[in-house]
């Protein structure tokens, strides 16, 4: 097991290096690196000073090492628009996005898995057909559209939920969280629902396919032959087995959900990292863009790593083989 972990860690480190190299080439070698660091409206003297300070007149490989050095120290430059260190800026907005994403993923799991299992257990019932029909919609309809419809229905027509923004927050561990207040929850509900729908549809389809496949196996027949109830079978045999592909997908999709948060945050004016990146793109706040790329890549690698571990933890067959 330890060898497995170390192997994965090394792989993760290698990938990070690769991505940093790619970003470096893309930004510093191809583009004009100065534009990434200095706002276009500074004096010529400041430009020259910066060039010297960052060593843009040095050979490329030396610049790369400087770049890596800066990365490791968390120095991503300063945002043009907000005039504060980029890392700090991103970290201040991260909790909001995390809150939204976690709420969406948890919601998708808690609702999607039981629904999908039911659909797999009773494939021909009319309830199942409805569920599957709705899941196609959740799958196909673009997130931004659903967001619009949600706002229209709940905020405009019914007026029961707010149309945007984040609610009141409570500080826990030095970070502001909004789900701990009722007002915060009312603001969190619609965007989380919006973000979760795609994953929900995916969970339903996964759980259904897995359940259907497993219900036809001899394991279930044998369990029935021992007199175990259908409920026990679903809970202890089916759920345990479909957990494996679901966890894998969940892990990978967590990253994708984080990415899709960009759309949801824009529509609901949710002050998270996603909205930040869109605003930055539109205002050409390049340091933020670069930092966002790197941090997202890092996050993905971490997530992939965690999923690998979870996979090995859930499927005992993998443990002995790797060791």
């Amino acid at each position: 097991m330890l060898g497995f972990l170390i192997q994965r860690l090394i792989q993760a480190a290698v990938v990070m290096m690769l991505i940093s190299a790619l970003v470096f080439i893309g930004v510093f070698a191809v583009g004009n690196p100065i534009d990434v660091l200095i706002s276009p409206d500074v004096t010529q003297q400041i430009r020259l000073d910066t060039i010297a300070a960052y060593g843009f007149d040095k050979p490329l490989w030396e610049q790369y090492l400087n770049f890596l050095d800066r990365l490791v120290h968390g120095n991503f430059g300063r945002s043009f628009v907000f005039n504060m260190p980029v890392l700090q800026l991103i970290l201040s907005r991260l909790p909001a996005t995390l809150e939204l994403t976690v709420a969406a993923v948890v919601g998708a799991m808690v609702i999607g898995i039981p629904l999908g299992m039911y659909a797999g257990y009773r494939p021909d019932s009319p309830v199942t057909k409805t569920i599957m029909g709705l899941s196609i919609l959740g799958f196909s309809v673009p997130t931004f559209w659903i967001g619009l419809v949600l706002i229209m229905t709940f905020a405009v027509h019914l007026g029961v939920l707010p149309a945007g923004g984040r609610g009141d927050t409570v500080a826990v561990l030095g970070v502001e969280w909004s789900f701990l207040t009722l007002n915060g929850l009312s603001h969190l509900f619609l965007p989380a629902l919006n973000l979760s729908l795609f994953k929900l549809a995916m969970m339903i389809r996964l759980a259904r396919a897995g359940t259907r496949e497993i219900m036809l196996t001899d394991t279930i027949k044998f369990a029935r032959a021992t007199g175990q109830s259908e409920w026990t079978i679903l809970r202890r045999h089916v759920l345990r087995q479909i957990a494996i592909p679901i966890v894998t997908v969940l892990g990978l999709e967590f990253g994708s959900t984080l990415a899709f948060a960009v759309v949801t945050e824009t529509i609901f004016s949710w002050p998270g990292v996603g909205k930040l990146i869109i605003d930055s793109i539109q205002s050409l706040d390049r340091p933020v863009m670069v930092a966002y790329l790197m941090l997202v890549a890092f996050l993905f690698i971490v997530i992939n790593f965690l999923v690998d571990i979870a996979y090995a933890a859930l499927d005992p067959r993998l443990r002995t083989r790797r060791a």
């Binding site: 027949k221 369990a223 032959a225 007199g227 175990q228 202890r236 045999h237 345990r240 005992p316 002995t320």
Partner: protein, 323 residues
Amino acid sequence: MTALLEVKNLATHFFTRNGVVKAVDDVSFTLDTGEILGLVGESGSGKSMTGYSLLGLIDPPGRIVRGSIRLKGQELVGLPQRELRSLRGRRLAMVFQDPMTTLNPVLTIAEQIRLAIEAHERVSPAASRARAIDVLTRVGLPDADARLDSYPHQFSGGMRQRVAIAIALLNRPDLIIADEPTTALDVSIQAQILTEMKSLVRDLGTALIWISHDLAVVSAMASRILVMYAGRIVESGPTAAVLRTPQHPYTNGLLNSLPSRAAPGQELTQISGLPPSLATLPPGCAFHPRCPKADGVCQTPPDVTASGARGWRCHHPLHGEAA
């Protein structure tokens, strides 16, 4: 003395898109306490389906369309699922062919045994473990305590099957149905398991229905034998008598095709033709298209002729009316 099991005119049909498949058609037999009965037939003869029917494990689109199954006088056909479930694993048990697929790959042996016990009564983890060790030792699994926390894939095929047999024996059922339990195992292991099962059921007084396509295996185990073809029982009687003087041409064909019966250097005899599709059975006797003794009268279905302990379903028995 009432028999342990009385099956009368059992018929299990599958209502598929391509027609009605008569998997089991008019099967009748009795079984006494502690008796070992062999059920022989090729794939598609309906032998496994008969076994499933006894436990009520027929899934849609199939169902038992008529007939009666009486266990110690209690009628099983038409019994609500809840009551059937309380009988399964307690009074009736089943062992399947491939233990790799019957045991759940992601649960430990201890957990699976525990589920089988908890299906019928509440037990403490310690009590469940004690019973598990007891029953595993009884089936000849060495070092049972250490083995309990292993997973199925960590065992060899023979050991896995012993675990499955142990689970079947957990609640000391009156009847165990074994569906080709040794077919997937090495020949040497096969012999071991056969001997062990024979002594186990003798010690516990459990009746056993041994389903197999292998006449040699069945003849070693069973005191009485039923030969099935195309969903019907075509011959029945004490094993020794049936094998010595088979009445039905099909039984005769099966015996002659055994490699042990052929003289060295001689070609193996085969039964000509192929088994019929169970959706489109030939009229009258299902075997007549392949039978060397068939003639016009075989177009009408033959009735069961009983003579002493033997029975056959044929218009032209090989040894006339003599048993």
